[in-house]
Amino acid sequence: MTGLTRAIEDARIAFATLADRVDGLAHPTLRIGVTGLSRAGKTIFTTALVHALMRGGRMPVFEAMQSGRIARAVLEPQPDDAVPRFAYEAHLATLAADRAWPASTTRVSELRLAVRYATPRGTERTLTLDLVDYPGEWLLDLPLLDMSYADFARQSLALARAPARAGVAGPYLAMVAARHADALADESHARELARLFTAYLAACRTEKLAMSLLPPGRFLMPGDLEGSPALTFAPIDPPALGTMAANSLGAMMERRFEAYKNAVVRPFFRTHFARLDRQIVLVDALSALNAGPAALTDLERALDGILAAFRTGRNGFASTLFRPRIDKVLFAATKADHLHHSSHDRLEAILARLVERAHARAHGHGAALDVVALAAIRATREAQVRRNGETLDAIVGTPEQGQEAGGHVFDGAEEVAVFPGDLPETPDALFDPSGAGFRGIASAPAGEVDFRFLKFRPPAGIGAGAAIPHIRLDRALEFLLGDRLA
C-alpha cells in the first residue's frame, strides 16, 4: 500500500517538475523557499528581500546590485492560482505606518518577481523569482510520512513527559492516562484530547519555554482544516497487546493520523516543497538562548527534523528533469541586530553547531550550504557603555510595549541601550548535555539569566521609497541569487 502511494506521489512530482522545467526553458525561473520556525522572521525577511530588489539600498556584497547590473525588479502575477499571494504591500505598510512587525506566517504564500538584469558581458536577461514563504513547522511534518501512528504516539508522549515540558503537558497527560486505546471510539473524547493536545503545544511555544519541536505542524496553524477529522487526533498510549479493535479509540486515532498525512502532508510536499530550487532556513537562535538550555536542545532537534526533509544535492542532468533537488541551502540566524556586531561571529558559530549534522549530510551530496547571521530589517543601533571599568558593547533600540527587563516594563516609546550578555567563544559551552550550559528565563529567576534579548520595534523611517537598513541581507542575496544573475 505505502509502496504504491509513494510510487504515485513520485510520478506526480516528476510530472510537475518536468512541466516546470519545460516552462523554465522559455523563462528562467528560480523558486526560493523561505522558511523557519514560528517567529524566526520569515515574513520580515521576504518583505525586506522584495523591497531590496525593487528599491535597492546599501548592498555592497550583492555584486549584481552594487555594480548596477540589475535594471529593475517588478512584481508579477504568480503562477499558482490556488496559493495565496504574499501580501508584500500590506506588510510594508504595517512596518511603515504602525512601526510594528507584520503578522506572522500561518500558511504558505507566494510572490513572483521578475528581475531584469544585464550579464557581466552585457546581454540583458530576465530572471523570474518565485518566493515561497511557508511555516517551518510544516517541514517537521515531513518525517511523519515515514512513521506509523504508534511511532508517532510513542515519540510525542516521550517528548511531553520530558521534564522541560511536563509542566505544561499536565492536563493532557492526565487525560491520556484516563483514556485507554482499547476504549470505544467516541467523537467527544477525541475532540477533547485534540483540544488539550493543541493547548499543550501552544503553551510550549510561549517566550518563556520557546520550544520548537512541535509536530504535527497544522495543529498550531490549522487554516481551513480547523475542526476537520484530519486534525482531530492526538497521541495516546498504544494498547499493551498488538492489535486494536476496529471501533476502538486507538483505531480511530490511527485512521485520522493517516488522513492527516494524506490530506495535509503529502499535498504540501508535492505542490510546494518538492519544487524548490533554493532554500533559506531562518533560525531564531536568540529566543532559545533567552529561554534556556531545554529550548536550545529542542531547537537543535527540530532543525534536525527540518534538515532531514531536504533532499539537497547538485542538480545533475537526469535529476534536473525528474527529481528536483535543492542545490543551495542558507541557514540564517535572524535578529542579528539584537547583538553587537562583534558577537555576530559567535552567533554564526552557534548556528553552525546547530546544523552541524545537516552540514555533513549536505556536503556528501554536493549541495552548497552556508551559515550567516543577519537581520533583514535592522531595528537597533550600536553603542558602548563604560561600567565598572570595562566597556560593554551594547545595542540601542525601542523595546516593544510590555517587554520587561530588570523589573522595568517598557512602554513602547522609550529608547534604551541593552547589553544582552556575552555569547561564549565556543558554542560547545552552551550545549552542555547536563542542561547546565547557561540559564534562561524558563528556569532561572529574572536577575540571574545569562542572556536577555528584548523584542525591539522596527526602526522609524521605513517607507516605499526608502531603503531599509539591514545586516548582511546583501550576503544572503549574493548566496541565493548571485550565481543566477551572472
Binding site: 546599501r58 555592497p60 556584497v61 555584486e63 552594487q66 555594480s67 556586531h341 555576530h344 561571529d345 543601533r381 550600536e382 553603542a383 558602548q384 557603555v385 563604560r386 561600567r387 570595562e390 560593554l392 551594547a394 540601542v396 527587563a405 530588570g406 522595568h408 529608547e415 534604551v416 541601550a417 541593552v418 547589553f419 544582552p420 550578555g421 556575552d422 561564549p424 567563544e425 559551552a429 552542555d432 547546565a436 550550559g437 547557561f438 536577575g447 540571574e448 539569566v449 545569562d450 542572556f451 536577555r452 528584548l454 545586516i471 548582511r472 550576503r475 549574493e478
Partner: protein, 343 residues
C-alpha cells in the same frame, strides 16, 4: 557559583539595560567617518617562509652581509687614504676631496634610501596580498579591514578613484564579513586599474611584435624586447602602487620570471595552441612576422605574470586576465595581415 562555563578567563557578564541619558554611554555614530591617519592598523606580521637558520639569518644572507661589510670597510679605507694623500699634497686639494667625498656619501645614502623604500613598497604589495588571501580564507574581519585601508592608501594618489575610495570608506563602517570586505575592496578599487594594466600589456605586446617584424637585426629585437619588458613591469608596479627603484626592479624581474616559470607549465595548455596557430599563420607569410607574433605573445605572457606579482590583491571577485584578453589584437593583426597580403 562556579562560572567557568562561559569563558575561562573572565566571569560572564550579566545582561543589563541602560537608559540613553547614561553619562557612560557613547552611541556609535550612524555613519562613522573612518580616519586613515588615526586608525590603528593591526599588523599580523606573518613571517615570510624561507630557510631561516636558528640565528634568524640564512647562510646567503650572512654571506652578503659580510661581503657588504668588507666592501664598505675597503671603500672607507680607500677614501680616507685618498683624502689624506690629497691633503699631504696641498691642504686646499684635501678640503675639496673631503667635500666631494661627503657629497658622494650623502647622495649615495639618499639613493640607497630610495632603493630601500622601493623594495619596501614591493614587499608591502606582497604582504597586502598575503593578508588579503588569509583574510578571505579565515573570513577575518579585522584583517580584511586592514587590507581595505592598505588599499585605500595604495591608491590614494589615483585621482580617478576618488569616488570609489569614498564608497569603500563608507562601506568600512557597515557590518560586512571579512571575506566579503576583501572582495568588495577588489571590486570597488581595482577594475579601473586592471583595465589599464591589461591595456598596457596588450600595447607592449603589439609594439614588440611590430618592431620585431620590421627590425633589420636580431640584436635590435632583443634589446627592444628586453627594454619593453622591463619598462612594462615597472609601469605595472607603479600602476598598482609599487614604484620600485633599481634594486626593486631586479627583484621584480626575478619575481616575475619565477612566477612565469611556475605558471608557464600550467598555462601551456591554453597558450601553446594559440602560439602555434599564430606562428603557423604568420610563418606562411614571412618568418619575420611570425617571430614578431611570438615575441609579442612572450611579452604578453610576461605582462600577465607581472600583473600577478604586482597586483596587491589576488584575483578573487574579478576574473584574472587571460592571454586571449591581452593578445587578441596581436592574433587578429596577424590574421588581417595574412588576409591583406596576397593582393
Amino acid at each position: 557559583m562556579t562560572d567557568d562555563r562561559v569563558s575561562p578567563q573572565r566571569p560572564p557578564r550579566r545582561p543589563q539595560v541602560f537608559r540613553l541619558d547614561d553619562r557612560d554611554l557613547t552611541l556609535a555614530p550612524p555613519e562613522p567617518e573612518p580616519d586613515d591617519s588615526s586608525a590603528a592598523i593591526p599588523d599580523p606580521a606573518r613571517k615570510r617562509s624561507g630557510a631561516v637558520s636558528r640565528f634568524g639569518m640564512t647562510l646567503g644572507g650572512l654571506f652578503w652581509t659580510a661581503a657588504g661589510g668588507v666592501a664598505s670597510l675597503a671603500a672607507y679605507v680607500g677614501l680616507s687614504r685618498l683624502v689624506s694623500d690629497l691633503y699631504a699634497q696641498s691642504p686646499v686639494l684635501g678640503y675639496v676631496g673631503l667635500a666631494a667625498t661627503a657629497v658622494l656619501v650623502l647622495v649615495g645614502a639618499v639613493l640607497l634610501g630610495r632603493e630601500v623604500a622601493g623594495l619596501a613598497r614591493l614587499a608591502h604589495l606582497d604582504r597586502v596580498r598575503d593578508k588579503a588571501a588569509s583574510a578571505i580564507a579565515q573570513d577575518d574581519r579585522a584583517l580584511a579591514e586592514a587590507v581595505a585601508r592598505d588599499m585605500l592608501r595604495l591608491t590614494a594618489d589615483q585621482p580617478p578613484l576618488a569616488r570609489a575610495r569614498a564608497d569603500l570608506r563608507g562601506h568600512l563602517a557597515g557590518i560586512i564579513d571579512g571575506a566579503d570586505l576583501v572582495r568588495l575592496t577588489e571590486r570597488t578599487l581595482l577594475p579601473a586599474l586592471d583595465a589599464r594594466a591589461r591595456q598596457m600589456v596588450s600595447e607592449a605586446a603589439r609594439n614588440v611584435s611590430v618592431v620585431t617584424a620590421v627590425s633589420p637585426r636580431a640584436l635590435v629585437d632583443l634589446v627592444f624586447v628586453l627594454y619593453t619588458a622591463v619598462s612594462l613591469m615597472r609601469r605595472l608596479a607603479q600602476l598598482y602602487g609599487g614604484r620600485p627603484g633599481a634594486l626593486g626592479m631586479v627583484r621584480l624581474v626575478r619575481h616575475v620570471l619565477g612566477h612565469l616559470a611556475i605558471t608557464g607549465g600550467m598555462a601551456a595548455g591554453d597558450t601553446l595552441v594559440q602560439q602555434i596557430i599564430g606562428q603557423g599563420l604568420a610563418a606562411r607569410l614571412s618568418a619575420k612576422l611570425g617571430e614578431g607574433v611570438v615575441n609579442g605573445l612572450l611579452t604578453a605572457r610576461l605582462g600577465l605574470a607581472a600583473i600577478a606579482v604586482t597586483r596587491p590583491l589576488p584575483f578573487t571577485a574579478l576574473p584574472a586576465p587571460r592571454l586571449a584578453d591581452v593578445a587578441t589584437g596581436l592574433l587578429r593583426k596577424a590574421e588581417e595581415d595574412e588576409a591583406a597580403s596576397p593582393r
